[in-house]
Symmetry: C2
Subunit: 235 residues, 2 copies
DNA sequence: GAGTGGTCTAGACCACATC
DNA sequence: ATGTGGTCTAGACCACTCT
């Protein structure tokens, strides 16, 4: 953990606890630096995290203010690909493994995972529910060489916890692509869509800090249940 | 313009021109600093922009590499809310203004735009097409006090160009929320949806560097034409 | 003019990858 | 052991807002 992430966590807590209230002006940079015993640049890095999360706004010449946010309890304020974590404490996530097999990568997959054609990959299909309600069907491809010993009971819990905590791999970034297409019978069955109704698809490629691609994943949602929030910040 | 943005632009050009090829290792930090006559921290800021854009990947102990990107010609590599800019040189964007009026903000709008109930706002509905094909229906609300002299011919061109270039306002961030709902007859007419088919909606709140909210905008797309790409990078 | 953030530098030290 | 990025500091100077 770095100092600027620590400081960001502490200030974020104060905002969430209501110690810094909505619209309020934060102490100015110099005071914060003294309070948290750090340099100006370090404080800027910390506050920039909160800017990216949409919690505060900084105005040159004016000050730093708690943003009035329309987001409920911090969805997406953290970089969090894991469904289990995203709904932690608010919904029960359950997963049913439909397919779990090892197959050789075809041309398409080899391109997506940036591996050789014929290299073995896990092919996983999971139906995942929130509080017992069908929510998403996930099709995941994962190179065997990154996670050699995957087991069904890991899939039933959190694949991300296993990868980050047990294998000590760290996620660097996700490329996300959202589109919508007409459903086939497979998604209709689980998501409860009618013929002629589309699903929403997230196509996600996850990179590790090593530069390797961890997974290529297609998540298909019922259109009426789908929601995605993000904040774009000017460099 | 800052030095680190300048450097980022120069290196981005080299990647796009193919001077730095896919998968290639960039000169290491020290050399880049010498070449671009800047400090290490400044170079890091520059390269971090390209990391956020998904063009490069940096690996401690290993180097900086051009990422093999699946994105075509840089969609979303720039922070760009403007439709006109997003498809610049690839598609012709045309807009038809359906509604253009000034109304007092109701409770809902006052909350969204963070203004007083009763304050006047522009209410604009535009049907926008790409190469003549219906693409998106945009419903925009914009406080009158930020853009006092809006005219129809501005809407027919680029509202963003007017705001950034003529009014010298700068956009700080956009909050984006993507959902999907069943279409009503209004969207069906323009987008060519059938009864019982949903549209995809982007709900967008745009903030200026002053902290003011520039606009609250709902963009509704035909589900089959919608696409959104983004890159999530760990802090 | 006073208050407040943003950028840039030089240099120290640390963490990780690869050989 | 060496190469390469990441973090942190102290301090200088700049740019913007507010009144």
């Amino acid at each position: 953990m770095t100092k600027y992430r620590d400081i960001a966590d502490q200030i974020r807590s104060k905002i969430i606890n209501g110690e810094y209230t909505v619209g309020m002006k934060l102490p100015y940079e110099y005071i914060l630096c003294v309070n948290y015993r750090c340099n100006k640049e370090t404080m800027k890095k910390a506050l920039d995290i909160l800017v990216k999360e949409g919690l505060i706004i900084r105005r040159r010449g004016a000050g730093t203010f708690v943003k009035e946010t329309t987001l409920q309890d911090g969805i997406n304020t953290q970089f969090e690909c894991s469904l289990t974590k995203r709904f932690l404490g608010r919904k029960t996530v359950s997963s049913q493994v439909i397919v779990f097999e090892v197959v050789p990568a075809d041309h398409f997959l080899a391109e997506k995972l940036r591996i050789e054609e014929g290299d073995f990959v896990y092919h996983i299909i999971r139906d995942r529910s929130l509080d017992g309600e069908p929510y998403v069907e996930e099709i995941t491809y994962l190179p065997l060489n990154i996670v050699p010993q995957l087991k069904v009971n890991i899939l039933n819990h959190s694949l991300y916890d296993y990868i980050t905590q047990d294998l000590h791999l760290r996620i660097q970034s996700c490329h996300l692509n959202i589109t919508s297409s007409l459903s086939s019978s497979m998604e209709r069955d689980f998501l409860g869509l009618s013929k002629g109704e589309p699903y929403i698809q997230e196509e996600q490629t996850t990179y590790l800090t090593t530069g390797a691609i961890l997974e290529y994943c297609l998540s298909r949602y019922h259109y009426a249940q789908y929601e995605f929030s993000t904040i774009l910040v000017n460099h």
